[in-house]
Symmetry: C2
Subunit: 125 residues, 2 copies
DNA sequence: GGTTGACCTGGAGTACGCTCCAGGTGGGAT
DNA sequence: ATCCCACCTGGAGCGTACTCCAGGTCAACC
């Protein structure tokens, strides 16, 4: 924020708490470049920025909707490359959005089959 | 069916076509017991029954809604064990049904976040 | 009756996404 | 000062669900 205010910084434990990712997963994400190299304190321990935590929120959303890591990596690269990639980011997210929609449709349909099966079993009892 | 009519029988290729599972997957499912030992012709080649194909349809539905193989195996065992397991089958399917519902809810919520992100990016362009 | 292609088996390998471990350092409360 | 616990690294291991392969057999059509 300002030049003098305390910039919010998170310890690994805090980020685990806030994002729901395990510490191992956070290190893994950093290792593969899904997370940019995280700041360290004098002892070499990670100190995550507010921005890191926000980005992890995005990651969480994409992961939970089934985006493979490889594609998240591509998205991360677009984000890092700057504003001229915004159209590409939109394209990527729109494609993903369509896949999520398809997933929801699929699940909804399959759920009907399961419910029917349950009804059938109930009728047999 | 009758004692003399042709019982419908499917070659591996036909089952692949109808179920969308690969031949390797079908063999794998048989190996782990998700499919009961499939009938063979004189040469040892599989000849799937109508029942097998129907069961594979159920498997497809459960798989596509994210049921792990271990749980499908438990379900398969219940089915094989006979009618006295129907209450257990209902319980299993109901629990799965709730998970599917939760999945749909989750996806729907996440999808909103993604759509919002797209809108944001659009507004920036 | 010869060729092509579907199918067979057992077992190894792959892809993905973490998760765990050993061995070690540093911070911070008492 | 001491102790404990969080954290560090590099690398190995794991769980899930297939997928592929080599080497071989049979069927079916020309």
């Amino acid at each position: 924020m300002g030049c003098c205010g305390p910039v919010s910084v998170y310890t690994p434990a805090e980020v685990v708490e806030e994002t729901g990712f395990s510490l191992d997963t956070l290190r893994y994400y950093e290792k593969i470049g899904l997370l940019e190299p995280v700041e360290r304190n004098a002892a070499g321990q990670r100190r995550f920025s507010q921005e890191d935590v926000g980005w992890l929120g995005t990651i969480r959303c994409l992961r939970d909707t089934g985006m493979p890591i490889a594609q998240m990596l591509r998205f991360a690269e677009l984000v890092r490359a700057g504003d001229h990639t915004i159209a590409d980011r939109i394209a990527l997210l729109e494609e993903h959005d369509r896949r999520v929609e398809a997933q929801i449709g699929n699940l909804t349909e399959r759920k009907r089959y399961i419910s029917d099966k349950i009804s059938y079993y109930r009728s047999v009892l």
